[in-house]
């Protein structure tokens, strides 16, 4: 048994952030997969670990940690292995700025689209009574609202349009940042890159008209460089759904506009 247990869903979004950080550091951990689509995260067994019912959570000995971005900083500070935060305080500020921008502004827009096209449809075939009961068990009121919208397809046209606008703005910002530096927020691979990859790994598939080798060469260069890392390969190998298998688009040497069709 490892000293660390990670409770996570797919290597995607928040779950994938500490998974990838642990893999990059070479920290062995017990992987405890929670099936988000089966509402494992709201079951008593998991709520005894994280009463808020959010994924991921990490146990290190007797310590319990939540909040994936703060968790990644803990992983980097606590364990040996390559440093994922540079020494320069300005770089550290920039990394945190980007992680917050992605966590709170860009990722919610990506995930609104993802929940509408993937999560919602994936659970809609379940028994309606079971779904109703599952929603009632969600501890955080805002997560209850989100699940209700996903399950019953209640995302409004205006909010989807706003999410799409933000995705387009975010893609432009990522491309600009990556045209200045090899990595997103510093000159070395950092937590911002691990965070960003979890957000953007399927970008050329999900947003083909906004991100490809012609329009956003720097984003594609960056995604391929992260995908080439052994830690990323090991991490994405833990995925079980078709959603995360989309990462293999990055194996294509050139992704042009034509792949849209």
């Amino acid at each position: 048994m490892s000293e660390v247990t990670l409770y996570h869903w797919e290597p995607n979004a928040n779950s994938g952030k500490p998974m990838l950080a642990l893999m990059e550091k070479g920290v062995p951990f017990d992987s405890h997969y929670l099936d988000l689509l089966n509402f494992d995260q709201h079951k008593p067994e998991y709520l005894s670990i994280n009463p808020q019912g959010t994924i991921p959570a990490m146990k290190h000995g007797n310590l319990v940690l939540t909040e994936s971005t703060a968790m990644m900083e803990y992983v980097d500070e606590t364990f040996p292995g390559p440093k994922l935060m540079p020494d320069d305080p300005l770089d550290r500020w920039r990394i945190r700025w980007w992680m917050k921008f992605m966590d709170q502004w860009l990722a919610p827009s990506f995930s609104m689209i993802g929940w509408k096209v993937f999560v919602g449809p994936a659970v809609q075939s379940k028994d309606p009574e079971e779904l109703k009961a599952a929603i009632e068990r969600i501890p955080l009121p805002e997560r209850r609202v989100a699940w209700r919208k996903a399950i019953y397809g209640l995302f409004g046209e205006d909010e989807m349009k706003e999410s799409q606008r933000r995705v387009a703005v975010g893609i432009r910002m990522l491309e600009e940042a990556l045209s200045k530096r090899a990595w997103l927020a510093s000159n070395q691979y950092s937590l911002a890159d691990a965070n960003g990859f979890n957000l953007a790994y399927a970008l050329p598939l999900s947003q083909p008209s906004l991100s490809n080798d012609e329009l956003t060469p720097n984003i594609l260069r960056w995604l391929r460089a992260i995908y080439a890392r052994p830690a990323t390969k090991a991490c994405w190998a833990l995925g079980r759904t078709s959603m995360v298998k989309r990462v293999t688009i990055l194996e294509q040497p050139h992704i042009g506009r034509e792949h849209v069709a």
């Binding site: 290190h60 310590l63 940690l65 939540t66 909040e67 971005t69 703060a70 968790m71 900083e73 803990y74 500070e77 606590t78 305080p89 300005l90 550290r92 500020w93 920039r94 945190r96 700025w97 917050k100 921008f101 709170q104 502004w105 919610p108 827009s109 609104m112 009121p141 805002e142 609202v145 989100a146 919208k149 909010e159 706003e162 999410s163 606008r165 933000r166 703005v169 910002m173 600009e176 940042a177």
Partner: protein, 251 residues
């Protein structure tokens, strides 16, 4: 390296950064700007992505060696890294995680609620010419809603509930200790920054919260904080608000 801090009245994010600066004993050029008039948008760095798209909304900007930094908690972390004064984050990694995690919940849940209620109670007065310069579409939309006096009742009620929840968390955390994380930290500064102005706006949230009220007094008694509050040019800086982070779009 020379530093310039563009800040508003000592409330909200400007409070956090000014207090971190003074606590750490760092010399910086202080330039007061009218955050509540939209003056940040006429700074020469206003269109840099990290300023224009800061999730925090109208917060202070620290310029160091040509790089413009926004987002008060992370500026405070930077100042903690570079300044000579006592640390503003615990040394133990788990306690540091708790500090960052606490601040994250504060900026994600409490700050949007406090800024919304603050702007409702004390509406900022933007200059139309400056608003036209705002780079972020959604920040401009928040300004426009405030300008038009649009404050949905359900959002006001929800924001009050969120402030009350934050105070309850603080009250529970302060049992048997003077500061939120045990040692004085950025978590105290950031929590105070958003909640000081809520005492009069959501009085019911503070009723009977003895530990929280004395923690606020204790914080105001710190020499660095006294110096920060002495910078105020308005009678009550806790009543000075500009649009903050947006309320979570997911609900």
């Amino acid at each position: 390296m020379s530093m310039t801090l563009y800040h508003g009245e000592p409330n909200g994010p400007s409070f956090t950064v000014l207090a971190a600066l003074f606590e750490k004993g760092i010399q910086a050029e202080l330039v007061r700007i009218g955050l509540a008039e939209g003056a940040r948008h006429e700074l020469s760095c206003a269109q840099q992505a990290e300023v224009a798209m800061s999730v925090e909304g109208e917060g202070p900007v620290l310029v160091v060696g040509g790089e413009a930094m926004a987002d008060s908690v992370f500026i405070a972390c930077y100042l903690d890294d570079v300044g000579p004064g006592a640390p503003l984050r615990p040394a133990n990694p788990y306690a540091r995680w708790e500090t960052m995690s606490w601040c994250r919940q504060m900026i994600e849940r409490t700050a949007p609620a406090a800024a919304f209620l603050g702007c409702h109670a004390h509406p900022p007065k933007p200059s139309p010419a400056l608003l036209a310069k705002i780079g972020s579409v959604d920040l401009r939309a928040r300004w426009e809603m405030i300008g038009a006096g649009v404050f949905a009742e359900d959002k006001l009620a929800d924001s009050k509930a969120k402030v009350a929840v934050a105070v309850e968390k603080i009250e529970a955390k302060l049992a048997g200790r003077d500061w939120l994380m045990g040692e004085f930290s950025i978590a105290d500064l950031e929590s105070y920054a958003w909640l000081a102005g809520m005492v009069k706006v959501v009085p019911e949230g503070f009723a009977g919260k003895r530990l929280t009220v004395s923690w606020m007094e204790r914080l105001r008694g710190r020499p660095a904080v006294r110096k920060v509050l002495a910078l105020a040019r308005v009678a009550d800086p806790a009543a000075y608000w500009a649009p903050g982070p947006e309320i979570n779009r997911w609900g």
